[in-house]
């Protein structure tokens, strides 16, 4: 890059198709949605401009807040278990004294649930978790773990935990692969040096492995959060599509979808979309900031 590149307009021809499509199918819809968020558009007739009424409703809408709460609740369980299990596995497989074998097999086995279409996963658990006739209850009863069938998907707490844990089940393998990739990026010299210094397993973990994995863990955290805020397929298909039981699986995108495509309140749904967007931006900013502050401290 040190050489002065001369101006060359060929570049435009290469990027024009991208921007044509991008402007038409991404930017224009976003602006159009913004416009609709100020109207009472119902999908029929002309949209009527109603100013900030949709946003006024949004900030006082208990269902939007509960959708936010549910989304974070489910994501929290999902992420906690996903990262926890993946981290344990990573520590186990990166321990150079133990020299665990079979990484290739385990990685593949744990990753598999992530490849399955979420719709299949949702339907599968929707019936496996049935009450009196669900196979999981039958299994747990046979094993003597429970004495009464549990109505998993009919109680807000067990329903949220179920969805959160299913999410973790789907994603821990993926996170494990990424963390292992991060570890293999760490030079072996660090570990060997630590070993020679006579460091204990715990010291190696807390002084070498974890600090070096921090950036990649933050990457996992941010991608998982942005994905988690948009969780839709699983809560939609595992119960009635409206967030049952008691609205506990009503996530933000499910709420957006139902307002728009079930009740035809397009205008309000557009405002919900922007609410969701603001929340996403806010969370991303907070995280970037905390990441930056930590780096400064350590530096």
């Amino acid at each position: 890059m040190s050489k002065m590149k001369k101006i060359d307009y060929h570049g435009y021809f290469f990027i024009i198709p991208f921007f044509l499509i991008f402007i038409t199918f991404t930017i224009y819809p976003i602006l159009l949605t913004f416009y609709y968020s100020f109207t009472s558009y119902t999908g029929m007739g002309d949209p009527e401009f109603i100013g900030l009424a949709n946003y006024a409703r949004l900030v006082t809408d208990p269902y939007f807040f509960s959708a936010f709460y549910n989304t974070m609740y489910i994501w929290g369980i999902n992420f906690g278990f996903q990262l926890g299990i993946a981290l344990l596995l990573t520590v186990l497989f990166s321990d150079i004294r133990l020299k665990m074998k079979g990484l290739g097999f385990f990685r593949a086995a744990f990753y598999l649930p992530n490849l399955i279409t979420i719709a299949s996963v949702a339907l599968l658990f929707g019936i496996l978790l049935g009450w009196h006739h669900g196979t999981i209850n039958h299994l747990l009863l046979d094993l003597g773990i429970i004495s009464q069938p549990i109505n998993w998907l009919n109680d807000p707490t067990t329903a949220r935990w179920s969805v959160g844990l299913i999410g973790a089940w789907m994603w821990f393998g993926h996170t494990f692969i990424i963390l292992m990739a991060g570890v293999s990026g760490i030079s072996k010299d660090y570990f060997e040096a630590a070993l020679i210094d006579g460091a204990s397993r715990w010291q190696i973990l807390s002084n070498v492995t974890l600090p070096l994995l921090k950036p990649i863990m933050l990457y996992v955290l941010i991608t998982s959060l942005i994905g988690g805020l948009q969780i839709f397929d699983l809560p939609m298909l595992i119960t009635d599509g409206m967030g049952a039981p008691e609205g506990s699986l009503n996530t933000m995108v499910l709420y957006l979808y139902n307002q728009a495509f079930k009740f035809n309140n397009y205008g309000y749904a557009a405002a919900v979309a922007y609410g969701l967007f603001l929340i996403t931006v806010l969370f991303s900013l907070i995280m970037f900031k905390s990441m930056y502050r930590k780096n400064v401290k350590e530096g």
């Binding site: 060359d8 307009y9 570049g11 435009y12 290469f14 990027i15 198709p17 991208f18 921007f19 499509i21 199918f25 991404t26 819809p29 976003i30 159009l32 949605t33 913004f34 416009y35 609709y36 596995l89 186990l92 004294r97 133990l98 665990m100 079979g102 593949a108 744990f110 598999l112 649930p113 490849l115 979420i118 719709a119 299949s120 339907l123 599968l124 929707g126 019936i127 496996l128 196979t135 299994l139 046979d142 089940w169 993926h174 692969i177 990424i178 292992m180 990739a181 990026g185 948009q230 839709f232 397929d233 298909l237 995108v253 979808y257 728009a260 557009a270 969701l276 967007f277 996403t280 931006v281």
Partner: protein, 276 residues
């Protein structure tokens, strides 16, 4: 040393247990797919398959041809992967090789918009597709992924570190045209990175649910996830065996494909993560 062996034994046991947990839902699915509704309801959990596979298949296929959904999803995912790979490479090449006015501004704009969640424009998108007359076609599923900022970003970073401008200069002196340069030099260099991204694109398109749910209406055009969603609340859902079979049909081929591709997929994920 001995202590280590015991510890290792415990760890392996735990790992195997985790593998079992990962697989048991699939196992229940496959077993139940071969059992009749009455068998599942009355006899509960079992490890042994039943004999109602064909009956279940008849019930399922009479209502909905899941194989059609498979084919639809495949056509869409392949088209999306090819188009987005080609055009992303093209765009990345433009950004990496040429120096033109507004290049950096456009690139940064693209990066910012990369952060915007897909659902933000959903309502406007639906309205646009309706106005264009593309509802109930595959156009809204196949064309928009041509512009995938993340892939462009990834490929541009890759090009910036792997391609020497001198390569291009030499070819230019030989009289090659710019597009030829891209096809003959840029694309081959980019291939490994394109392949990595292609996997994600394919999986993403294959699993996409909300977009086809919103824009497709005719059942024979449904993608696999939308077909599965439509099984819920249909008469197939009256029969647990048939329902399990429907889910199994959507899952088992993916498992088989994964058997052959797992190494490649996992390498791609690792590469994608480290290159960030």
């Amino acid at each position: 040393m001995k202590k280590d062996k015991v510890v290792k034994g415990i760890f392996y046991t735990l790992l195997i247990l985790l593998v079992i947990i990962s697989f048991i839902p699939f196992y229940m699915m496959i077993v139940n797919a071969t059992r009749s509704n009455g068998d599942i309801l009355q006899n509960g959990f079992t490890l042994l398959p039943g004999g109602a596979l064909m009956e279940n298949y008849d019930i399922l296929i009479q209502y909905m041809n899941l194989w059609r959904g498979f084919a639809n999803s495949l056509v869409i995912a392949v088209a999306v992967t090819l188009l987005s790979s080609y055009f992303s490479a093209l765009t990345a090449f433009g950004f990496a090789v040429y120096n033109f006015k507004g290049r950096n501004a456009l690139f940064i704009l693209m990066l910012i918009l990369m952060m915007v969640p897909g659902q933000l424009g959903l309502i406007g998108f639906y309205d646009l597709i309706q106005t264009m007359g593309f509802l109930d076609t595959y156009v809204p599923l196949i064309i928009p992924p041509i512009a995938s900022p993340f892939i462009v970003f990834f490929l541009r970073q890759y090009l910036a570190t792997t391609m020497h401008p001198s390569l291009l200069e030499a070819a230019r002196i030989d009289g090659a045209k710019e597009l030829t340069l891209f096809h003959k030099i840029g694309l081959p260099i980019l291939m490994p990175a394109v392949a990595t991204m292609a996997i994600f694109t394919f999986i993403g398109s294959w699993n996409n649910y909300i977009l086809p749910l919103v824009v497709l209406f005719s059942p024979e055009k449904y993608t696999l996830p939308v077909m599965l969603g439509a099984l819920r609340g249909s008469q197939v859902a009256q029969n647990l065996g048939a329902m399990y079979l429907g889910i199994a049909i959507s899952v088992v081929p993916i498992m088989i494909a994964f058997l052959f591709l797992s190494k490649y997929i996992i390498t791609s994920i690792s590469a994608g993560a480290v290159k960030e």
